[in-house]
């Protein structure tokens, strides 16, 4: 089986823009993405959420495209578009049928240098983002996650929510937004990714004509405060009306640059992927204290978090659950992992890897993400590295990262029973 991405190419334009391309003629579709190296990592108190707010404003008008016009063009061409902001990046995408995808390049070029920031539009969009933020805080996991992230870092900006705090989103000025845009939206701070049914040589010429003329700019390199590191276990308790107590723990995790990255990915599978995974078996099947459990782990620029979460069965003592989880983690350190378990986790990683490269947009996301963080070649060595993770590596990674004294243990419990008052239908 061929796990190499031999057909992916990288070009660097004179203005510093990185262009990643991959031809895929299996479906008549082209996905185009642009990735900027800016996100909550490049924010500070007072302007948290500014990258995300800026992402919203990028659909609200530029010199060339009036408000709504980008969506209108997308619709007229039968495409789809959207954007997302994360800790380390902000990314925009279009997908179109391959005979009509070219407006994507024109739009991204204009958005890179000519955003309009109309004050009235800005105030309206601020309201939309505040609605989004309130919606998130209104969900049990949203509120708990924000609290756990905040407690997990002392200094690093990963402690702030990507969407920002209510106070900051209310206060961010249009001048601050503009400065953020001028600072980070430059060709030399971005990667264009094109995947799909096109001819690479033709496309590269076109990209150079349309995006190559944008001048490069000096971009700020905000000093990201290094994390001081936690010295003791943190505890977070959220009280909210809920029908089910929820548990969310965060452990420190390696960044994409760290060697242990792959071992933690294997641990992720060993603990929670499938019916035979260790935490699932212990907590859901044997002890029946939770109705589900999962672990989560992302690729990030700086060390971020390894999450463990699940919903507790009623009347279960959270202390008991905590002891069971601690015991399972201790078992990882205890002895060698049986080869059959390692083999299963490896296969799960590899199947996931293949599935992540199925559609043109999936591919563009994976390539753009890793190019932004470390270089897309990461994927070329991925299989080999996963296959080489040993039982010893896993023990060492668990010992280094899954430590109680560096963890944040969050729980959401109910404040009161919900006062619901259903009403008879009214004719």
């Amino acid at each position: 089986m061929d796990y190499q991405l031999n057909d992916v190419t990288r070009h660097r334009l004179a203005n510093g823009l990185t262009v990643i391309t991959r031809e895929d003629h299996s479906v008549p579709i082209v996905a185009s993405m642009i990735w900027y190296r800016v996100g909550s990592r490049t924010e500070r108190p007072g302007i948290t959420g500014i990258s995300h707010l800026l992402e919203h404003m990028m659909f609200k008008g530029t010199q060339r495209y009036a408000k709504g016009e980008i969506d209108y063009i997308t619709t007229r061409h039968g495409g789809s578009n959207n954007a997302f902001t994360s800790r380390d990046y902000t990314a925009y995408y279009f997908t179109f049928a391959s005979d009509r995808w070219h407006p994507a390049l024109e739009i991204e070029a204009d958005r890179m240098e000519n955003a309009a920031f109309d004050p009235e539009e800005f105030e309206l969009e601020r309201q939309v983002v505040l609605e989004e933020l309130r919606m998130d805080l209104d969900t049990p996991w949203g509120a708990l996650r924000q609290a756990v992230e905040l407690a997990s870092f002392q200094t690093h900006p990963y402690r702030y929510p990507i969407i920002g705090t209510l106070e900051d989103v209310n206060e961010i000025s249009i001048e601050e937004l503009n400065a953020h845009y001028r600072g980070f939206y430059a060709p030399n701070n971005s990667t264009l990714v094109l995947v799909g049914d096109f001819r690479q040589d033709e496309v590269l010429k076109e990209v150079d004509t349309i995006l190559g003329r944008i001048p490069s700019r000096e971009t700020p390199h905000p000093e990201v405060p290094a994390e001081l590191g936690q010295r003791r276990e943190n505890r977070v308790e959220i009280r909210k009306t809920t029908h089910v107590p929820r548990l969310l723990w965060a452990f420190p995790a390696p960044s994409v640059h760290d060697r242990e990255h792959y071992s933690i990915e294997m641990i992720d599978k060993l603990l929670s992927e499938g019916k035979l995974a260790r935490l699932y078996r212990r907590l859901v099947e044997e002890e029946r204290v939770m109705s589900g459990v999962m672990t989560e782990f992302d690729e990030t620029q700086d060390p971020y978090l390894f999450f463990l979460r699940g919903e507790l069965q009623p009347d279960v003592d959270p202390i008991r659950v905590e002891k069971l989880i601690d015991a399972e983690i201790a078992l990882l350190l205890d002895g060698p992992i049986p080869e059959s378990e390692l083999e299963r986790a490896r296969n799960q990683c590899l199947s996931q890897f293949l599935a992540d490269f199925e559609t043109p947009l999936d591919q563009a996301v994976q390539l753009g993400l890793l190019e932004t963080l470390i270089g897309f070649e990461y994927w070329n060595s991925y299989v080999e590295r996963i296959q080489s993770v040993t039982s010893h590596d896993i023990r060492a990674a668990a010992d280094k990262y899954l430590r109680a004294d560096a963890s944040t243990k969050g729980i959401l419990i109910t404040e009161q029973t919900s006062g619901s008052t259903p009403h008879a239908p009214q004719a």
Binding site: D71, N81, M135, V244, S291, A355, T359
Partner: protein, 427 residues
């Protein structure tokens, strides 16, 4: 040049009635193996909401030849992914496998569909999980609103309940209930096996014939629900929950997928509430122009099936916006029904649909889903080829006619879920 897409597929019907559809695509060494069974929520006895979904969930919990652990070991060991679903009119199994593991997939699929044993201890465990999941769903006001809406518009039918069932009914389910449901409702005549991906149609057919050829259809008629009647008077239901945001869902019974006006309704959806970005009327006015919400949309075609789906319009907003949001949603619907549409709106929607339909068959799982609807709704294998012309032939008069015919601005259901608010009158 209009975009044409021709998806190849082989269809075969075994002597026992089992239908097999295979679409080959050798891009990635993966296969999506699916079984769809006409054993959905509509087949539930009136007093047993949740039975169909529970039966489906238990298919991989033990069979005549494998216990649950052995099945998981075999499948997860090779990195295969299994998911089971159960909806309004269908239940089924989806497996994502590497090509080399396809035989194992067939073996396990035959066991799950033809020879499940529903062990009592596994049923009790699964029950605890489902009951906790039902509790957890009450923390999501959008789900609460959706359940209330279904209860009102499907009143008197098995579709009025959540597919997963109710606390009371799930608590009562027994092994004989599941065995009896399986015996009557799972049969070759009501099953469709769909494969998409790196597979040879001929080899797949032989494997399936060998494993499923002896499966017999029991002597029970597939239950078809009597015609579901649309409400004849307005209904309003308000539910107070301890949340910050208000969720409004309004609409009424929708249409069947075989409705000859289906393509016209797709055009209507793009114009009214489910186009990309904020081009449709509802998101454009309520989100983009008024900043009322992060999420707002409407849809009628998307939920259509063997039975009528729902016409629904949704918004999540702050409680103080309640009246303006309600008036905004119904106002947009009324406006479309009374004032009609413009030529420009029609062309835009046609452009969108005739370009974006290629996205529906990007991945193996999507191809399988598409082939399912071809079979279920007699669309014809040339559906994708005919689709652009079908959409292009829709006229303004068609859209205005179906708006008047299918959207009711008097006798509709409104469900409001959110906090109590001083100015908001509860029903």
């Amino acid at each position: 040049m209009p975009l044409k897409l021709n998806l190849k597929c082989e269809r075969q019907r075994l002597d026992n009635g089992l239908v097999i559809l295979v679409s080959e695509n050798h891009k990635v060494p993966l296969v999506s193996l699916n079984a769809f069974v006409l054993a959905g929520q509509d087949q539930n006895p009136p007093e047993k909401p949740g039975l169909a979904a529970f039966t489906a969930r238990m298919l991989d919990e033990g069979t005549e030849n494998y216990d649950y652990a052995k099945m998981a070991e075999l499948l997860e060991g090779v990195g295969g992914a299994l998911s089971i679903f159960s909806q309004r009119e269908l239940s089924g199994v989806n497996m994502q496998l590497k090509t080399e593991d396809l035989n194992l997939g067939f073996e396990l699929l035959a066991e799950m569909l033809c020879r499940p044993v529903f062990p009592g201890d596994r049923l009790e465990l699964e029950k605890e999980k489902v009951l906790n999941h039902l509790r957890s769903m009450q923390d999501d006001p959008q789900t609460v609103a959706g359940n209330a809406f279904n209860r009102l518009i499907y009143a008197g039918t098995p579709l009025q309940y959540p597919a997963l069932g109710l606390q009371e009914s799930v608590g009562q389910l027994s092994v004989p209930d599941l065995r009896s449901f399986h015996l009557r409702r799972y049969s070759p005549a009501s099953t469709l096996i769909v494969l998409a991906g790196d597979v040879s149609a001929k080899a797949a057919r032989e494997c399936i014939e060998a494993r499923f050829g002896g499966w017999k259809t029991p002597d029970y008629e597939h239950a078809v629900l009597p015609e579901i009647r649309k409400q004849q008077a307005p209904i309003v239901e308000t539910k107070i929950v301890d949340k910050e945001q208000l969720h409004i869902l309004l609409g009424h019974l929708g249409v069947k997928r075989k409705n000859p006006d289906f393509p016209v309704l797709q055009v209507l959806d793009v114009i009214l509430g489910s186009g990309p970005g904020f081009t449709s009327r509802i998101p454009r006015r309520l989100r983009d122009e008024q900043g009322l919400a992060y999420t707002t949309y409407s849809d009628i075609s998307g939920s259509s099936g063997i039975y009528p789906g729902r016409f629904s319009a949704y918004i999540c907003t702050s409680p103080e916006n309640r009246e303006i949001a309600l008036q905004g949603l119904i106002g947009e619907i009324r406006n479309l029904v009374e004032e009609g549409i413009t030529d420009e709106e029609l062309e835009t929607a046609q452009d969108y649909l005739t370009g974006s339909f290629v996205f529906d068959v990007q991945s193996n799982a999507m191809v399988a889903r598409f082939l399912l609807s071809v079979e279920l709704f007699d669309l014809g294998m040339d559906y994708l080829e005919r689709y652009p012309d079908m959409i292009r032939s829709v006229t303004r008069e068609d859209v205005e006619r179906v708006a008047r015919l299918y959207l009711d601005t008097v006798n509709y259901t409104t469900v409001i879920v959110g906090p109590s608010y001083p100015d908001s009158k509860t029903a």
